[in-house]
Amino acid sequence: MTDTTATRPVIEARDLKTHFQGRTGIFTALAGVTPPVARALDGVDISIREKEIVGLVGESGCGKSTLGMSLVRMYQPTSGSITFSGDDITHVEGRKLKDYRRQAQIIFQDPYSSLNPRLTIGQIIEEPLVIHGIGSATERRAKVERALDLVRIPAAENIHRFPSDLSGGQRQRIAIARALVLEPRFIVADEPVSMLDVSIQASVLELLDELSRELGLAVLYISHDIATVGYICKHVAVMYLGRIVEEGRAEDILAQPLHPYTQRLMAAIPRMDPGEVPERVELRGDVPSPMNVPPGCRFSSRCPYATELCRAVEPDLTDQPGGQRVRCHIHDDRAAKARPELERPQAGRITEIEDAGLLAQTAG
């Protein structure tokens, strides 16, 4: 095994924010009210090295795709910075942006709609080369064959077939080949196996894992299917409402999470062994809208342990003795010391929530 801890990150983001301007309805326009802003991604740090797959988990709408899209510059971040191989690419435009996009690719969830049904497999994979003006026809053909090779699809038999001739798993391999043909150094895999049957998910995950090592790729693996993350990621980050609430080694995050949200998320996963079924505390309400982020800790509107301190002060992501990083007042006493008049939450102590108003606010 090679030690990669010394190498510089391929991609690194600092305090990255991507906000979306809400649409102006007729009423807000008439009233002269500015439409609300969706704080989809609201201050995230992340860094991925060569040959590393970082897992990103969290419920739908928490901003995972927004982070992925911002990192590959399909979305323009509102603030913060993205560094790629040491170069700041947060605001690059034109040729430089095109150059960057060649090296940073994204694979989407749906292998059924992401491939153009009128093009052959060969044409689909060649298309990005044509767009980027790379190589002669013969050179491109060789690159297409190599990409198919990499995803373990026999080129000769498949290059003239259409997506409709292929199974879901094969289509997802084609989508990966299409991303690889540009020889990127960084890939965002956004729920790449979520639409595939469980019986074939493993082969696509294994492929990602092998490719990352063979080609030295940095990969951000996004998934709401948390159990899959443990198989290919060493490092996992958990997002809630636009921010990372916990991160660390996969085995720690999945098997011994510290943040109340991560704990509930992991407990939610059904267990095969009846002896392993954990306690499942009921959470209040639904995930709040990113247009209506609760004050203080973002999880406080649903957290079973929330106290006044949680509603007043947002916790920082802090290092824990075990190496995890956690954003919760239970695991960081600084806020409690600064505001001793506010009650501090305690692990496992379920608090009562007074506000029916919060329920109405969060059910969006």
């Binding site: 419920e59 798993g169 049957d197 493993a202 443990g230 198989y231 996969a250 267990r271 095969m272 639904d286």
Partner: protein
């Protein structure tokens, strides 16, 4: 929880009577024998379900699992009488002894929702967008019980409390609900008449993990408490492990294996069940080594041209010439049964199936 509104003594009495009548309903028993279902399509007629038999004992949950397209929803639709016209159905489904297959709408009327109810994957399909949710639940109650609207509404309020929704939201329309709330509303509706048999077709698949777990907990809790029977359709074998006493594993329209859940998951007889287990992602457990994730190579056969032998043969690492020519019968071993020629070699197969090479060396290409 929402404050219960004060009910007049008369209303409270009528509601108590309705509740009592409904909870006195016995759990249903269902026996499906030789169920085959053929769809007519432009490309020809094919059997989406073939010779499927199983039994749901009164007061128990049965899990129906298998890859997408293997015929799970088709079975459920047949039981609810929801298959399209011109679908060929044979076999029988005895609900407490009465065959409910092939009944007319008029004959089904007293059965649907009253004796057998359904939660589908997409709550939106079960709800009418133009009526408020409360009215929809009341309508189902009023169609089967001779009570006033106020009593039906009070029952709907109780059902909402059961699934953790505030009573005042009964006045709202489906579009005002989030996905998780809508799914809970559909569950409230399916439970309103306390039918003896609940069919739940992927009731939480479209939802986030925490919502999935909270809704499944409620369904489990309500079912244990009221001792109902349920068929739970899912592709998640861990949900079955947590919820169902018995399981039926389907493959390409047929039953591959069935039996008590604990037995089937611990000692699968059918190579497909072994493959499903290998492919199923699990959370790591501290200090325990973990099996690698292994996928099943190949794809489900085209049902328009079903293979002549075992339907799993093209993906089975243990297939022989016999398998490719002759369809296996169901073999019974203890409480389990499996459609495989080699059930007596299951121990050997299980050991081999746990090794990734066994599946990887098959040259079929996923």
């Amino acid at each position: 929880m929402a404050p219960a509104r004060t009910r007049s003594p008369a209303l409270a009495r009528d509601l108590a009577r309705l509740d009592e009548r409904l909870s006195a309903k016995p759990a249903a028993h269902l026996k499906v024998n030789g169920l085959s279902i053929g769809y007519s399509t432009l490309r020809g007629r094919f059997h989406a379900v073939e010779d499927v038999s199983f039994e749901v004992r009164a007061g128990t949950n049965l899990g129906l699992v298998g890859e997408s397209g293997c015929g799970k929803s088709t079975v459920v639709k047949a039981l609810m009488g929801l298959l399209p016209e011109f679908t060929g159905i044979s076999g029988e489904a005895l609900l407490d002894g009465q065959n409910i297959l092939g009944l007319s709408d008029a004959q089904l009327e007293p059965i649907r929702w009253n004796r057998i109810s359904l939660i589908t994957q997409s709550a939106m399909n079960s709800l009418d967008p133009v009526y408020c949710i409360g009215d929809q639940i009341c309508e189902a109650i009023l169609a089967h019980e001779k009570v006033g609207k106020a009593v039906a509404w009070a029952r709907a309020e109780e059902m909402f409390a059961l699934v953790g929704l505030p009573a005042e939201r009964l006045y709202e329309f489906p579009h005002q609900f989030s996905g998780g709330m809508r799914q809970r509303a559909v569950i409230a509706m399916a439970l309103a008449l306390n039918a003896g048999m609940l069919l739940a077709d992927e009731p939480t698949t479209a939802l986030d993990p925490i919502m999935q777990s909270q809704i499944m907990s409620r369904i489990r809790g309500i079912h244990e408490h009221m001792r109902r029977s349920m068929i739970l359709v899912t592709h998640d074998i861990a949900v079955v492990a947590e919820t169902c006493e018995a399981v039926v594993v389907m493959y390409a329209g047929k039953v591959a294996e069935s039996g008590p859940t604990a037995d089937v998951l611990e000692r699968p007889l059918h190579p497909y069940t072994m493959g499903l287990q290998n492919a199923f992602p699990r959370l790591p457990v501290r200090g325990q080594p973990r099996q690698p994730l292994i996928s099943i190579p190949g794809t489900v056969p085209n049902l328009l041209l079903p293979p002549s032998g075992c339907r799993f043969a093209s993906r089975c690492p243990f297939a022989t010439d016999l398998c490719r020519t002759t369809a296996p019968q169901l073999h019974t071993v203890g409480a389990q049964s499996a459609a495989c020629h080699y059930t007596e070699r299951a121990d050997e197969f299980r050991a081999a199936a746990a090794r990734p090479e066994t599946w990887r060396n098959m040259r079929v290409g996923a």
